[in-house]
Symmetry: C3
Subunit: 344 residues, 3 copies
């Protein structure tokens, strides 16, 4: 599939790959096996044994290596065969699988599927919302039968809240102002809602006193390939943002294939809230699964079904104000991919 | 798919589209949304929102318009966007979906998928069997995983009764005479059976006295694209047709795709029978579902599985006398499609 | 699909086609109908009626002919239409289906899908293990979602036992010596294990006294297209093979399609064991289904999933010593197919 290659993709939450276990996932159409070595360091290698092409994930973890279930060849985290139990035990030169640079950071596993020499962990973006010293973050995951850009469009365009998420659709949501801006290859889509009477579950989420009017902001920050931070907070109306209570979240997408997407989300709670921060983050992350799964997912998968194999832009989508952020994000991504292709 | 465009297709029974509800169906590979406006008039529009391509059938009916579930754009029965809740509310020119001419007649909804300027409700054929002042008609529907011509072949060739429908296969059925004739682009396939000892359920269906010999006729009338009336009746042997009791039916087919078909059928009972006519029509329509579903459908779907992506005629089917009507119908349809293609 | 044409393929165990029944199976992508005539002789004809292409297997056996369910045409085992119940009853010349030469031998049904004039029953290989005067044989069948060469590779390369079949993996298995040899177009892959302490179920299978060291051999004999005899036996260590107790088996594969395979296996027990030989053969055949289905099948189907539509050899598989036999078999098969293609 056509996608940006030389960039860090999210591959999993760290707790999806516990020690001592093999974890298999397809990313950008590549079958990849994840495991931890004896130091706990995450490793990612091609899942196809170079001997008979059996899936390595059917095998076992033996020390720091994966043993193929079929004939017992073992492969280390660098993709090299470390053990051949057959014949004179000499390891054939061709007995290797791809090894993908990985980094564990922000509670997530990041993978580099492009040119290995270009993999630089410093290029993993900063995600303050996932900084474990400041925030607690729940770990949510969904798989969508839709292209990943349809998913990132969905978050960048929060003008859908009013229609798709009735529980969240206050009268004030409609009056919200949307501003889009760009900083280099980062796109901001900011929504500000003032004088809003929040439903009590949202008052609670923002830790506001009950019954008063609120100001609320929902600021989405997109960067390639499809990593969105949603800085969300609220104050009693008229107060400064600095006084606000935050209920932010992140929404990260990686293509499985051209028409299916891995979606990781996290509701984040400032540790300053106190010892309940982790419980709050986990509960809120569990709570949003409902609307994500029963409201967003059917629409996004319905879009994909309507689009089929065609290119989204080639169908000439009508542009509304709420699309400005998503449209910019798509243009940047297209530009980055085209630049990569131009370099060969 | 290759099909006749400028002709009325059946789209649904009228009771498939109740007031206040959205009804979705694919016809000739087009996703189409049906609903009734506040006057009860049937409307048919493209099911794909021009904004983000979400399926409109996930949305809601709001007055005379369909509101998209995703961002609340509303579309009227003419396909024009009638409401844009975003920004300054101006409706983008491109915010339209196709609108298809529809007519509700004979208890059915008819749709025109071709050149809109050519849509003329007067060209919907007459169907005396569905004339609600003369006949009661049950409403049956099946979906078949087979091309629609395999389905219309099936009805036009009743020589299969003897083999596929053992309950209906009297000794006399085999002796039945078949005559095929053509009037313009209409094909008749007529079968006449004389001196038949009918099973009691057929005696009852034809309202004949028990135990006597009967004369029975099964006259199929095909017209494009795949609309078949089956004029069936019986008398005690030797009597004139005018004295006969009728148990006719209609069998209408519209392609969903090249290999799947919508099949609507109706058993019809003359209102002259008295106040039980509607009950009879409904009971007979319910009763034929059994053989249609368990006897015809497996064969017709089996044919499709054997044919696969190939063209039926290219496989050189052997012709038997019973195929004369279906073969003529296929030739006429092919001629009509070719003529339409020649016009560009 | 690309496959050897002019060779006998196994089509079924004889008991898969009981008298009076129609049996349908796809072989090399051809839909084929099997039945027995009134003498019990096996017949194989194309499953597609030449009239309307209905699947003949939906029909009935009428004497020595198959009657189509749709319109009652009957076809004999020679593929000729024998009865046309329509019109004047004349049988159209084109009313034929392919007829495939078949032979019932060794408890199996063999079919010739190539040029009919070349079909010579003498060319069905000898299978002493299926000689009913010497051996009892159980009849096992599995269908695999994998190419048939992946299946024959699996049997020819028994170096996988140690890893894939833990119950069978004695310490001595690893020390086993593998020798590969070729006789014309027959490939032998022989494994000899000495001084082995067998688990009790294997001691029992080989009818050895409990507790002693054993010598065991596993000699696989492949011939095209994918017919493998596994001559397996054991003695107390140091004795001659002539004194050994045999527990051999056969493993025959026929492609259903390029990516699915029919797999027939039989555990064989020498009749010299006495009256329990049949029971032993049947019990052992039933017992191996477990590992075949839960250990081999997931790996072989996993290989196919990893290979997808690609050609196995084009992916450059790493060769290990255990692959020598399978690699020779693949080369011979490729040579035979290429020779057949060269002849046109």
């Amino acid at each position: 599939m056509r996608a940006l290659k030389n960039i860090w993709y999210m591959a999993a939450w760290n707790d999806e790959v516990p020690a001592g276990r093999l974890f298999f996932r397809t990313l950008l159409e590549k079958p990849i096996l994840f495991f931890r070595d004896s130091q706990g360091t995450i490793k990612a290698i091609g899942d196809r044994c170079p001997h008979r092409f059996a899936p390595l994930h059917l095998g076992n973890l033996v020390g720091d290596a994966v043993q193929c279930k079929y004939h017992g060849l073992q492969f280390g985290g660098d993709g090299q065969c470390t053990h051949n139990p057959h014949g004179n035990g000499v390891i054939p030169k061709a007995a290797t699988v791809p090894a993908y640079p990985t980094v564990e950071r922000y509670g997530a596993i990041w993978i580099w599927l492009g040119e290995p020499a270009l993999a630089n962990p410093n290029n993993i973006p900063d995600f303050p919302l996932l900084d474990l010293e400041t925030f607690a973050a729940g770990h949510g995951y969904l798989k969508a039968k839709a292209n990943y850009e349809l998913e990132s469009d969905n978050i960048m365009d929060l003008s859908h809240i009013e229609f798709l998420h009735p529980l969240f659709a206050t009268e004030a949501v409609r009056r919200g102002k949307i501003e889009t801006s760009q900083e280099g290859n980062v796109v901001w889509s900011k929504r500000f809602i003032t004088n809003e009477i929040l439903p009590s579950f949202l008052e609670e989420a923002f830790r506001l006193p009950p019954g008063g009017a609120a100001d609320r902001w929902l600021d989405c920050r997109w960067q390639a390939p499809a990593l969105i931070e949603l800085y969300s907070g609220a104050t009693p109306t008229g107060r400064s943002r600095e006084e606000g209570n935050l209920a932010p979240s992140v929404h990260f997408f990686t293509p499985e294939t051209a028409t299916t997407t891995h979606y990781w989300y996290a509701m984040c709670c400032p540790l300053s809230v106190g010892p309940t921060a982790h419980k709050i983050a986990e509960e809120q992350t569990a709570a949003v699964r409902g609307p994500f799964e029963t409201e967003d997912l059917p629409v996004v998968e319905g879009q994909q079904a309507m689009i089929g194999e065609l290119d989204f832009m080639s169908l000439g989508p009508v542009l509304l104000p709420g699309d400005a952020g998503a449209a910019r994000a798509r243009r940047i991504l297209e530009k980055l991919i085209a630049a990569e292709e131009a370099q060969g």
